[in-house]
């Protein structure tokens, strides 16, 4: 998919574990794993807002457009 999810990079930068982020943004670790692996088909604005809030970053830090 041309949209790359850089969530693992941001988690490493913030030295935060996936489990902790999942708890903060109130989603399951399984769903967070789907998001991290790039298998997700869409992301809700509310989820994106929660992630940005938890990681203190911008949506562009998490999502990146890569040309095929």
């Amino acid at each position: 998919m041309p949209i790359r999810v850089n969530l693992d990079v941001m988690l490493a930068k913030r030295k935060m574990k996936s489990k902790d982020l999942a708890e903060i943004i109130d989603i399951t670790t399984a769903n967070l794993s789907i998001l991290k692996s790039g298998k997700a088909k869409a992301i809700r604005f509310s989820t994106l807002e929660a992630i940005c809030n938890a990681l203190d970053c911008q949506p562009s830090d998490i999502l990146e457009y890569v040309e095929n």
Binding site: I27, N31, L32, I34, A40, K41, A42, I43, R44, T47
Partner: protein
């Protein structure tokens, strides 16, 4: 899902009756094809009156009986789908594939069952019957196309469901 239970019961009753009649049909099919005692006698096969029972009428009879057997098979597939629906497996790929197969069976059967009879009447007996309203040909064609469209709709629904599940 009370309606589903009622439908399943009706289909099951039809299925049991059909299954019981299959050995009789097969025996009759073998008898009419290989036994010549009926040859030369007048007979009506699938709405077509034959002055003499010959190989053409044998073929037409065999064709309509085979069409009946394929419809019984379609009924069997429909029962399987209803069982899936009872388990709440609505958008299962097996159900989608089977709905399409049932549609194809209905369409092919309608053409073979009614189409060949119509052609025979047209070519051999030089007569043409035009029936307005719902005859078996029209009903089977509509049902076949309906099942095929239903399969497409379920395919789209399955994709939407998957997309919904993968929305975080």
């Amino acid at each position: 899902m009370k309606k589903l239970t009622i439908l399943k019961t009706i289909v099951d009753i039809f299925w049991i009756i059909s299954i019981l009649s299959i050995p009789l049909i097969l025996a009759f099919l073998v008898f009419t094809i290989f036994d010549n005692s009926l040859v030369g006698k007048p007979m009506t096969v699938n709405g077509i009156r034959f002055r003499k029972f010959n190989w053409v009428s044998k073929m037409l009879l065999a064709n309509s009986l085979i069409a009946y057997l394929t419809l019984v098979y379609a009924l069997h597939l429909f029962r399987k789908i209803l069982r899936y629906f009872q388990k709440n497996l609505l958008f299962d790929s097996y159900a989608i594939k089977t709905l399409n197969i049932i549609g194809i069976i209905f369409l092919v059967t309608s053409f073979f069952d009614s189409g060949i009879g119509f052609l025979y009447k047209l070519v051999r007996q030089k007569s043409m019957n035009l029936e307005y309203g719902l005859n078996s040909f029209v009903v089977l064609c509509i049902l076949g196309l309906f099942f095929m469209i239903l399969s497409e709709v379920f395919k789209i629904a399955k994709a939407t469901e998957e997309e919904n599940e993968l929305t975080i």
